[in-house]
């Protein structure tokens, strides 16, 4: 028996009403992503990458089509149920870190665990921060940390609830070379260790190539869906895998 995909995207359309008429941002995007797999969504600016990420995470609603996350169709959920789904099964890493400036590094990492009602929030957050090399910066506020350190805190926050699916939006986009390398290493290390499914939006080809598959978007449509084998990458069909 075939295991259900962690993320199934089916014929996704997203249009916006604008002054000049209707603007189509995504058109007929479909793909599946299995558990523990990783996918990079790449494409030029304005190709619809972030819109697709938002729809996959239930942050936005498609004009048509369906997103199924870990067997749950998102269209049937209200905002609160979507929030709970994200809390329990999803992690996020943002380009601009999105740490809460008034909270310490430790408190930032604790937030998802506390939202989930975990009593061991502090312990889990402390351990994760130690694992990311920030064990001595627990009480520092974001303003007191470098960009690389802030993104490592964000990674710890993303993994604290051991999410089944992690969405990362340009996680190294705001970092210098060395910091970007270190954050990328940490991201893939945690992802493989936790068996987390990863959806990564990036402009960075090198980073994209560290995933198992690259989905290329142009003008809102998928132009290629490329699986990357460790030895010889093969170009897969643009159409989704049979379900």
């Amino acid at each position: 028996m075939t295991q259900a995909p962690m993320l199934a995207v089916d014929a996704l359309h997203r249009t916006y009403a604008s002054g000049a008429g209707t603007l189509t941002v995504l058109r007929d995007v479909s793909f599946d992503l299995g558990r523990g797999e990783s996918l990079a969504i790449v494409g030029p600016s304005g190709s619809g990458k972030t819109t697709l990420l938002g729809l996959c995470a239930g942050l936005d609603q498609p004009t048509s089509g369906e997103v199924t996350l870990d067997g749950t169709a998102l269209s049937g959920l209200d905002q609160d149920a979507l929030a709970v789904l994200r809390r329990d099964r999803v992690g996020f890493v943002f380009q601009s870190f999105r740490l809460l400036s008034t909270l310490t590094a430790l408190e930032n990492v604790m937030v998802p665990a506390e939202l989930a009602g975990r009593r061991d929030a502090r312990k889990a957050a402390t351990e994760l921060l130690a694992a990311t090399g920030l064990g001595d910066r627990l009480d520092h506020h974001p303003g007191q940390l470098s960009g690389g350190e802030q993104q490592r805190v964000a990674l710890a926050r993303a993994f604290v609830n051991r999410p089944a699916l992690l969405f990362a939006d340009e996680p190294t986009g705001n970092l210098d070379g060395a910091s970007a390398e270190r954050v990328a290493d940490l991201l893939f290390d945690l992802q493989s260790r936790e068996g987390t499914t990863l959806v990564l939006v990036t402009h960075n080809d090198e980073l994209a190539e560290r995933t198992g598959r690259i989905l290329r978007l142009k003008d809102g449509a998928v132009v290629s869906d490329e699986s990357i084998a460790p030895s010889a990458p093969a170009v897969a069909a643009v159409h989704p895998a049979p379900r």
């Binding site: 942050l59 929030a83 789904l85 937030v111 998802p112 939202l115 303003g143």
Partner: protein, 856 residues
């Protein structure tokens, strides 16, 4: 309302605490702007209860007796018999009589004369409470029969004015008295009474009978102490007595009814002062609302992140609901504490207005009430902008431009709640829903007009900035319109403060101008009244012998209305439905007779009879238009008069407008000659004396030759009017102070809220090469112009209000002197600049990056 359940979630409280970490000082500052209003509410509420308690416990002291009977004439034998049968005998009551009137008091040794309120009392007065004198024991001396001269007690102000002291001799009428002591306080009399003229207390038995026989303004009183007072229903007794006494134009009052009357006055006064406090609270509320708006905007990204991390909207909102609740609690707590401090100051402001000693104590219920109102209003104002947090889309975490769409119905609900809260409070304070509604509308209109003026004034400035101005000036002016700036809020709050202060000043100025008008040029300034017919000739000669002119010689006849348009006034007074005020029907009319109108009168209807009455038909009288309206009569209507027993029918022959502002004899009703000449009457003579010396000479001559004649110096009236206005203005200024402090705190909060923006701009400018002086000039221009715009907004509104007040209420000419406007402009601009600069210090001296990191 899942956010209400979320409020009980420990996470929300933990997050609220953590999230407030960098903003607690700001939250305290926001709270401070409302604290002032709460403090005023708590202080007024608590002191109001202190006053009510004092009045309730000292009611007997206020009257000085269980029962008091008073009237404008000596008690007739029937009245005495009635009182004996109803009061003295059945209740074994003790009695003490007194008379009070206005008379000239002379100090022979210094040749000084003053008009004073004379009280001649019998030994029992007062049965309750103490007459406090300096030195003590003055009251006992008052009835010391063994002294060579009878003793008197005099107001210290009078003694000071005349350079007199204890042991000096003063003259009232034809009798001399030794000053026994100065009068500190008398039960039932507030210090404000002294404003209307200094008081002299004399023994009743020693009084010159001529003063009573001839004087027309004597008030007679009988005071009773009932041996069984505790067992008597005093209100029932009062009503029973009044049924008999009212038709005789006398009245009975009891300690109970007097206490209740004062309690009502206190309710009205504290209701009014509470509403003023509430205006200060609302002013602070606007500041809180605006600051929280900026605060909420700064939190939108954090909320979007929380939503992404799995916090439902209700839980994210609960974090800020907790902060708003904490802000409300802080407002309530700080306000209550500050209010208890302010309460200690209130006796100095209000005590003179009360006839009792008020002990200051904390009134728990009033404190809780003030704090509760502060909490609710603060919560509502803070929540209004925070509601936006509920609707932050999580997608904003990925795309910053993402915003909630559609309207938030809860905003309308909350605004409705706020309006209801304001209405409910005003209703509760005034116990009238109409006044409550009026207050809501008044506040709404004032804010509406201020917002409109602020928009128009700032719009005009924006359009008229000359392009040739230096860059720093243009940038400073442009800063007034930066997004999320507090310009309009400050124009409204500072404008309201300017409006309050200026309107108060302009109105006061108009009032004083009105009374001073009477003292200009060669207008008559000395009025002598209570002149009997047989004294007129002699007094006229006396005045002329001093080189003074007789400007007016006016006969006066006292009469009452017997019927109006064929209906007896007695019947009308019993039936309330006739719509005429009781005072107009019951009052004693002082009328005159003459064949000409004066320069203060204008005939507006009918024909004024400029000849003697020919004896045919009813007498054509001239009625002042306002009185005609009160009585509901028109030209040709019948009025029947009772002139001390003689019935005189009349018709309204003409209607006159009278300029009452002029200090001279003016009348509601004027008869033609040929009717009242034989009626008992007295006269008023009016003259003009150019110097205080001439007035003093006239006073001494008159009091020496005609002790019953009272002389009024117009300058004295001016000083009394000035003193009364000063007293009222002081109370209002004290309350306006709360609005001013609230306004300044709102200014502080607004400057703090926009500090980050200002710093970023400053850093950018310095990075682009601006030197310190240029950055400072930009900031100075912005703050000074902000102050100027606020002053102009408030001044425009205040000029409009003061004009309307003087034109329609005071009915006088409105003249706005430019000085108060200029002083206000400089003060508000200076204050705004100072507060702005205080909060910008350090920005210009440190390196740009260091500032950004420190503020980060």
């Amino acid at each position: 309302m899942s956010w209400i359940t979320a409020l009980f979630d420990g996470w929300a409280w933990r997050m609220a605490w953590r999230d407030s970490r960098h903003g607690r000082r700001r939250l305290v500052l926001y709270a401070a702007s409302m604290t002032v209003g709460v403090a005023a509410l708590v202080a007024i509420g608590s002191y109001g209860n202190n006053m009510r308690r004092a009045v309730a416990s000292q009611a007997k002291t206020m009257v000085g007796a269980d029962l008091r009977i008073s009237g404008r004439h000596a008690f007739e034998p029937e009245v005495e018999a009635f009182l004996a049968a109803k009061v003295t005998e059945p209740h074994q009551a003790e009695r003490a009589d007194s008379v009070s009137f206005t008379s000239m008091v002379a100090f022979p040794h210094g040749d000084e004369v003053r008009l004073a309120q004379v009280r001649a009392v019998e030994a029992g007065f007062p049965f309750y409470g103490e007459v406090i004198t300096d030195p003590p024991g003055g009251r006992a001396l008052l009835h010391d029969a063994g002294a060579s001269l009878p003793y008197a007690l005099a107001d210290p102000a009078l003694l000071a004015q005349l350079g007199a002291e204890r042991g000096d001799v003063l003259t009232v009428g034809s009798r001399e008295y030794l000053v026994a002591a100065s009068l500190i306080s008398v039960p039932g009399e507030s210090a404000r009474l002294a404003l209307f003229g200094p008081r002299i207390y004399l023994p009743r038995a020693s009084l010159d009978p001529d003063l009573l026989a001839r004087g027309s303004r004597v008030r007679h009183q009988a005071m009773f102490r009932l041996s069984n007072a505790a067992a008597v229903d005093l209100d029932a007794l009062r009503d029973e007595l009044n049924a008999e006494l009212r038709p005789r134009r006398m009245g009975a009052s009891t300690s109970q009814s007097t206490g209740e009357g004062w309690a009502e006055s206190i309710d009205r006064m504290s209701g009014f002062l509470s509403l003023v406090s509430f205006v200060a609270l609302l002013l602070g509320g606007l500041g809180v609302g605006s600051s929280m708006h900026v605060y909420a905007r700064s939190k939108l990204d954090a909320v979007a992140t929380l939503r992404c991390l799995g916090a439902p909207a209700s839980r994210a909102f609960a974090v800020y609901l907790v902060q708003a609740t904490a802000l409300g609690l802080l407002v309530a707590l700080m306000g209550a504490l500050a209010g208890l401090g302010v309460q200690q100051l209130l006796p100095a402001v209000l005590a003179d207005l009360l006839p009792v000693d008020v002990a200051v104590s904390v009134e728990g219920r009033a404190v809780a009430m003030g704090a509760g109102v502060g909490f609710v209003v603060a919560l509502l104002f803070a929540l209004l902008p925070l509601l936006a947090v509920r609707r932050v889309p999580p997608l904003r975490a990925l795309r910053r431009a993402e915003q909630a769409s559609g309207r938030d119905r809860l905003v309308a609900v909350l605004i409705g709640g706020l309006v209801l809260a304001v209405f409910g409070f005003a209703w509760m304070q005034t116990e009238s829903w109409i006044v409550g509604l009026g207050f809501v509308l008044g506040v709404g209109i004032a804010y509406g007009v201020l917002i409109l003026l602020a928009t128009v004034v700032s719009g005009l400035l924006r359009r008229t900035v000359p392009r040739g101005l230096p860059y720093t000036w243009r940038q400073g002016l442009a800063n007034l319109y930066r997004p999320h700036n507090q310009t309009r809020l400050l124009m409204v709050t500072l404008g309201l403060v300017t409006f309050l202060v200026l309107t108060l000043h302009l109105t006061e100025e108009a009032l004083l101008q009105q009374v001073e008008f009477s003292d200009r040029n060669d207008r008559p300034n000395v009025v002598m009244f209570d002149i009997q017919s047989d004294q007129k000739q002699g007094l006229t000669e006396l005045v002329k012998s001093l080189g003074l002119p007789i400007r007016q010689d006016v006969p006066m006849v006292n009469m009452r209305l017997a019927s109006v348009r064929g209906v007896a006034t007695e019947d009308m007074r019993n039936a309330d439905e006739n719509g005429r005020p009781r005072w107009a029907l019951r009052r004693e009319f002082r009328t005159t007779y003459r064949d000409h109108i004066t320069d203060t009168e204008t005939v507006v209807g009918g024909t004024f009879l400029e000849a003697a009455w020919d004896g045919n038909g009813p007498v054509p009288v001239s009625v002042e238009v306002g009185m005609a309206e009160e009585l509901g009569v028109r030209l040709g209507d019948e009025l029947v008069w009772n002139v001390q027993g003689v019935v005189i029918p009349s018709v309204v022959g003409s209607l006159r407008e009278v300029d009452w502002r002029r200090v001279q004899t003016n009348f509601f009703v004027v008869f033609p000659p040929g009717v009242l000449e034989d009626a008992p009457q007295f006269h008023v003579l009016v003259t003009r004396a150019d110097t205080p010396q001439a007035i003093g000479d006239l006073q001494r001559a008159v009091v020496g030759a005609y002790p019953n004649v009272s002389l009024i110096d117009v300058t004295l009236i001016l000083s009394i009017a000035d003193a009364i206005l000063d007293r009222i203005a002081f109370v209002i200024r004290f309350m306006a102070l709360f609005c001013i402090v609230a306004g300044v705190l709102v200014l502080f909060a607004a400057v703090v809220v926009t500090r980050t923006q200002r710093i970023e701009e400053s850093v950018l400018l310095r990075t682009l090469g601006a030197v310190k002086s240029q950055v400072l000039t930009i900031m100075n221009v912005e703050y000074v112009m902000l102050g100027a715009l606020a002053t102009i907004t408030g001044a425009l509104l205040s000029l409009g209000a003061a004009w309307a007040l003087t034109r329609f209420v005071l009915d006088t000419e409105f003249v706005a002197s430019p000085w108060p406007l200029l002083v206000t402009l400089v003060t508000v601009c200076g204050l705004t600049w100072l507060v702005g600069r205080l909060h910008s210090r350090g920005i210009h001296t440190r390196p740009p990056l260091e500032i950004l990191r420190a503020e980060g």
